[in-house]
Symmetry: C2
């Protein structure tokens, strides 16, 4: 059971990259925690989530980095999350409220999900609260006037562009589609959309809300783009009218 004096762990989705898209709850929680964990990778430092942590942290809040474990070795990944969870559980037991900031929505393709599970394993009675955030695709839709879905149209969100056949099948179906983690496959995706006549109902947004934000309503403009143009990018393919 949760002891009365134990702290709470908050997983805080801080939205895509626009400080104004934080929720009131995210601001309140970050302002009141004793410690905020900021995920970093081997390749990038704190960036936007670190900025958010520093902006809203209270005077005596400790800000700690937690290195993402991107290892393909699942045992190594599990051990990594377990160790972080043990560290967090000790802080909670000492009565401290702890937060982890995570980009976008906390329960949608975020590394917070792994940490949440690890913490439930390490301390089943821990008080944990998840604060949802705005996803990058919601902001992309808002920036381009392209709805994610309307009427009875269903929407397929693909968090990684690896299965081109699945993309093709969704486009042929006329389904609404969100493609994330496009990376190096940007030109291949544009090829598919062009071949299937779906470019007219597609838009592209990268680095939504961040410096260098790029919005393209004609994906042909991306034909000469740099190799890294697909990073932090979202493509929305609007459902065809016949599915409305």
């Amino acid at each position: 059971m949760t002891g009365q004096n134990h702290g709470t762990f908050y997983g805080v989705g801080v939205g895509p990259g626009d400080h104004e898209l934080l929720t009131l709850k995210a601001v309140r929680v970050l302002s009141s925690c004793s410690c905020i964990y900021v995920p970093v990778s081997k390749f990038s430092r704190q960036g936007y989530v670190g900025e958010v942590a520093r902006r809203y942290a209270g005077f005596d809040c400790e800000i700690r980095e937690v290195v993402f474990c991107l290892s393909a070795n699942t045992t190594e990944r599990s051990r990594h999350w377990h160790e972080t969870a043990v560290e967090i559980a000790a802080r909670l037991r000492s009565g401290k409220d702890v937060a982890l900031v995570t980009l976008g929505d906390a329960m949608l393709f975020s590394t917070y999900i792994y940490l949440l599970r690890a913490l439930r394993d390490v301390d089943p009675g821990a008080a944990i609260e998840t604060v949802p955030g705005i996803s990058a695709y919601s902001m992309a839709a808002a920036l381009t006037d392209v709805p994610l879905g309307q009427g009875k149209q269903s929407l397929l969100v693909m968090p990684a562009v690896t299965d081109m056949a699945e993309i093709e099948s969704a486009v042929v179906d006329g389904r609404g589609l969100v493609l994330m983690k496009i990376g190096a496959r940007l030109q291949a995706v544009i090829d598919v959309l062009e071949r299937l006549g779906a470019l007219e109902r597609s838009v592209f947004v990268s680095r939504a809300g961040l410096p260098g934000q790029r919005v393209e309503t004609d994906l042909r403009c991306l034909r000469d783009a740099d190799e890294d143009a697909g990073n932090l990018a979202v493509i929305i393919v609007q459902a065809s009218e016949s599915r409305a």
Copy 2:
């Protein structure tokens, strides 16, 4: 072209039903507009969106109701949105900033999308800004610890439970699934999930953030529920582990 003295129209997603899940941007925009439109239906009054409008409206802000047109007659629906757009365009031309509050995320299955299009038709140069909001399913995931998607799992969001075969096919595929607008078909959905052995990976949340919020991690508890238990409800079916 947009005249320099013309106002801006804001479509403001105010999240599922929890006042703390408004974004800082939603609060700023609502506080500064001269007029806020609150959608109502023939069957329900202002409810949560009206509360939000009244809470954040400035001292001299006018709050107006706009009746949802739920007519199956698309000509009648279009005329309705056109008339509302004409009224809003006149206010913008007189230099007023105008907002429409909408539940959840503005570009995801909201009536705001129809109004946005009508306003673009009526006044192609109007300054329009969409403010994304937290969707009900993001809050449902946060309340239940059930991720919407992780790794390379794709997520299918179905805004209306009408095509039981599509639900069945998604469940058999082991895909992550969000079911919205369940309404009177709640028992039929539970039947399908039980038959396919997917109840263990399903959760139910209704009225997320609103008075009467209900969270069920065992859908069997809903077998004796009232006929209206499926209203304002979301079911999340977690992707099967094999798709992770």
